[in-house]
């Protein structure tokens, strides 16, 4: 299938009317073409992609996160970062082929607020935070920031064990540098492998510690091994 996007003006028109349109998200997406007077607001990109489905088999939708990160990132890895941060691409997928998935994953029905719909179907926050809140871009960016050529999806699996991990690890400014993120996660995994108990609160503390380090050091100038060592040491200490 051709990867499609939703035009910027169509996104603007839907967002401007979300308070009135929100109840329509309880059903299928046929209303979209009605809203645009029978014209499709979807447009083709130049990319041809293999048709694929997302996993919606679990009662707790979060349990599908890891599998769906793999499915989305593996198939859309070719997107450059600038296109992968373009609301039009993700809104196109959320309002088009993966409309039912967004509803399933974020439990959206006719009672959902306009703000909830906006943040999961579109970009509802600032540019960076929206990437991990939009239902589809979230899956791609978790893959982008945690996939490692050597360890493949090992770091991804760890991050997807708990929704708080995603917030603590991927929604901080330092997470914009995959080398820092990978060093951080690798250190925690290795500390855990020594038998050390590390829960999500500890990961929150370690994230704060990384932030603190970022106040004194320019982390991007430090070798990954130095960041790894500092986090590993702290993880063993706490």
């Amino acid at each position: 299938m051709k990867l499609q996007f939703l035009s910027g003006d169509s996104i603007t028109a839907i967002k401007a009317n979300l308070n009135e349109l929100r109840t329509k998200f309880g059903g299928g997406n046929e209303w979209i073409s009605d809203f645009f007077d029978g014209k499709s607001p979807f447009k083709d990109t130049k990319y041809e992609i293999e048709d694929f489905q997302l996993d919606m088999s679990q009662k707790d939708p979060f349990l599908t996160e890891y599998e769906n990160v793999r499915r989305v990132y593996t198939r859309l890895k070719f997107l450059p970062d600038s296109q992968a941060s373009d609301e039009r691409v993700w809104a196109g997928l959320c309002m088009g082929p993966f409309y039912d998935y967004v509803k399933y994953r974020w439990k959206i029905d006719e009672t959902s607020s306009a703000a909830t719909i906006e943040q999961h179907f579109f970009f509802g926050y600032g540019a960076r935070r929206s990437l991990t809140r939009n239902a589809l871009s979230r899956l791609w960016w978790i893959g982008r920031l945690t996939y490692d050529n050597e360890r493949e999806y090992e770091l991804t699996k760890f991050v997807c064990e708990n929704a708080d991990n995603i917030m603590h690890i991927l929604e901080r400014n330092t997470s914009n540098n995959p080398d820092i993120v990978k060093a951080f996660i690798s250190a925690i995994i290795d500390a855990k492998n020594t038998g050390k108990q590390i829960d999500t609160n500890d990961i929150g503390e370690l994230s704060k510690y990384l932030n603190l380090l970022g106040g004194t050091y320019i982390l991007d100038c430090l070798p990954s091994s130095v960041i790894y060592d500092k986090i590993y040491k702290k993880a063993i200490e706490i």
């Binding site: 910027g8 003006d9 603007t12 028109a13 967002k15 401007a16 009317n17 308070n19 009135e20 349109l21 809203f35 007077d37 450059p80 970062d81 600038s82 296109q83 992968a84 941060s85 373009d86 600032g126 540019a127 960076r128 990437l131 960016w141 982008r144 920031l145 400014n173 997470s175 914009n176 540098n177 106040g215 004194t216 050091y217 320019i218 982390l219 991007d220 100038c221 430090l222 130095v226």
Partner: protein, 297 residues
């Protein structure tokens, strides 16, 4: 990364602090597009003998930290030279690119002292670790626009859509998105759509719909402080386009200049080439079609 004034556990050279005397660290950054790349030139000025020596010895370096909040692109460019030119692919950035200049320790510097320390620090030695910030320059923000078409075109900054609230009877304007959104009641929107492709009525539509929306947008901007204007609107396309057009055509900076209430009305008209006269003339002549005009000739 945003450079904020903060305290370090050791002296840091910065225009925001007096940790050092008789010393300067300042950088000029220029960003230009070249094909599908973005070229950035950095020129730094450093006046401090000890820091200069540390850079020469490779124990410290000029570091330019680049970060694009929208794409998540983040990198640090390290150099020992006061001049540096880099080229990055435009695929990596979109929207605002933050550039922060620093001098950073590249190796551990035990017992660091500097003859230009403020006298409060005289006699103290500091343990500086690799990666520590030693000087902070002024942050530069660049807006990288991917749109290659003319953003100053007034039409491109508006979206006219129908109001999904079927009980609505009036036009509504929203400036909280990338484009100024004008919501019309369903019936009015249908009329608008049917006329929007008719060249003869464009000036009337502009006078009726676009000018009030523009007056609203300019009034809202005008009611804010310069800082609020920057934080609230500077990432929106409509704001960038109006800012550019106002500067180019009227030498007014809407980010810093305040407009008088009557100027808001005036500039809203002039930005879209004052359509009122043509609109009234069209009505006064009984709404002639272009066919009728051709016949007259």
């Amino acid at each position: 990364m945003e450079i904020r004034y903060k305290l370090y556990p050791y002296p840091v050279l910065s225009s925001n602090s007096d940790d050092y005397i008789d010393s300067i660290f300042d950088s000029a950054v220029e960003v230009v597009r070249e094909g599908y790349n973005i070229k950035i030139s950095f020129v730094s000025e450093l006046t401090n003998p000890e820091l200069e020596a540390l850079i020469k010895e490779g124990k410290a370096a000029f570091v330019y930290h680049l970060e694009c909040a929208q794409t998540g692109y983040r990198t640090a460019i390290r150099t020992a030279s006061t001049d540096k030119l880099v080229s990055i692919s435009e695929d990596k950035v979109c929207g605002r690119l933050q550039i922060c200049p620093f001098i950073v320790a590249c190796a551990d510097i035990p017992d660091y002292v500097n003859s230009c320390f403020n006298e409060d620090y005289r006699g103290y030695k500091f343990q500086i670790e690799a990666g520590c910030v030693m000087a902070v320059g002024k942050q530069v923000n660049c807006d990288i626009d991917k749109e290659r078409n003319d953003l100053v075109s007034a039409k491109s900054i508006f979206v006219v859509t129908k109001n999904a609230d079927t009980t609505a009877t009036d036009m509504e304007v929203d400036i909280g998105q990338n484009k100024i959104t004008i919501k019309l009641p369903e019936k009015d929107h249908a009329h608008f759509k049917s006329m929007s492709k008719v060249p003869e009525v464009q000036q009337n539509l502009n006078a009726l719909i676009i000018i009030p929306a523009l007056i609203y947008a300019l009034s809202e901007v005008n009611s804010k402080t310069a800082d609020e204007r920057y934080t609230s609107y500077s990432t929106y396309s409509w704001y960038k386009s109006i800012k550019k057009a106002m500067k180019k055509r009227f030498q007014k900076d809407i980010e810093t200049d305040d407009l008088l209430p009557n100027e808001v009305v005036l500039y809203a008209q002039r930005l879209i080439k004052s359509p009122l006269s043509a609109a009234l003339e069209y009505l006064a002549l009984g709404c002639p079609t272009s066919d009728e005009g051709d016949d007259d000739e």
